[in-house]
Subunit: 191 residues, 2 copies
DNA sequence: TTCATTTGTTGACTTTTGTCAAGTGTGGTT
DNA sequence: AACCACACTTGACAAAAGTCAACAAATGAA
């Protein structure tokens, strides 16, 4: 069941042989998070790669005044991790918190990198995941640095992810746009 | 000469066999940029990976009002490219412009990915380059989004890259910090 | 050296966004 | 139904950074 969702996700990139799939499946474990439960806390070192089979995760960081800032949302069929922590075993910049009750597949980091080395298809998947993560944050950051509040809303929400509005409280959307809820409220009123 | 610098850079990650090195060397070409010359213009699709043997490159983007924003600096011994464009063959978000007279080694994208597929060491190097690029922009963005002007200067310049001050005009540093030159000037006066 | 251009600084003012406080609305619990 | 917590909105005001204009300082070319 859950495994199948995962296999389908891999098959976007390669079709594992049955022996490869055996090896992969061996390393998977399952986990659920209740709404508001933490997958990883800021400062922790990330030790596994996570794949979301159902639900939604919010990435957030804390600034010098301990205010929370949302940097990313991830949902069904995406891999999620604080990648720099996952890659370099350094403390994570961000916390990952469930926005809804969420079902996950986890692969331990050591196991995952062993698969990357031994299964070329997994190497490819890893590259694609990194590339996609890079692209997503690049755009988010480009918009946050170069556009005022109203344009951020238009681009990052209305244009790119209008469905967020149905799933995510506005206060987190405001935080994703790098503005506060009051400002978002004023932006939305003017439209 | 130039090749040697490049080989040394690779050797941080792996030691190519002499036949591997032959294949790699075959694909390298050399290029120089005068100060202010453009390596890649925003909107262009990036078709090669570049390695800097001497000099310095500035990455910059243009916002909705066509104001320029510096997002990154790269110098000797670093690979540089607008990675999302390089990876996905999409128009580059940013222009790459020489800050000084600069010497480069280039590898055509198709050749490079062929090397990634055939030489495991190059695959590793590519992963490391991507990971490093990801980490660098992640920190830059984290600071820009979460800290006010004075703290951005302290962290990104004084702490991380104080040598920038000797090589880069303040107006570009201001732009890298997401503030204007007047604000930077005021920040520096207060210290 | 001199002159012109670019770079950097400063002050006065404006704009944008944030902060604080009060209020409305909604959903869930008892 | 009544209450509570939470999400969201609104207004008045404050703070941070941007804009514009003037000028100073450094750099480079003639």
């Amino acid at each position: 069941m859950n495994n199948l969702v995962f296999k389908q996700a891999l098959q976007q990139y390669f079709t594992p042989t049955s022996s490869e799939w055996e090896h992969i499946q061996d390393k998977l474990s399952f986990r659920s998070l209740a709404k508001d439960e933490c997958l990883i806390e800021q400062g922790e070192v990330c030790r596994q790669l996570t794949f979301i089979t159902q639900g939604m995760i919010r990435y957030c960081q804390y600034d010098y005044d301990n205010n929370e800032h949302t940097t990313c949302f991830a949902w069904e069929n995406f891999f999620c991790a604080p990648f720099s922590s996952f890659i370099h075993s350094t403390p994570s910049f961000e916390s990952l918190i469930a926005l809804e009750n969420t079902h996950l597949i986890e692969i331990n980091k050591v196991d995952f990198f062993a698969l990357v080395e031994t299964i070329p298809g997994i190497n490819l998947v890893y590259r694609k995941v990194l590339e996609a993560a890079y692209l997503l944050t690049e755009k988010h950051n480009y918009i946050l640095q170069n556009y005022p509040a109203a344009e951020r809303y238009q681009t990052l929400v209305m244009q790119d992810h209008p469905t967020l509005l149905q799933r995510v409280p506005l206060k987190y959307i405001a935080s994703y746009l790098g503005i506060n809820p009051e400002t978002l409220s004023r932006v939305r009123r003017k439209i």
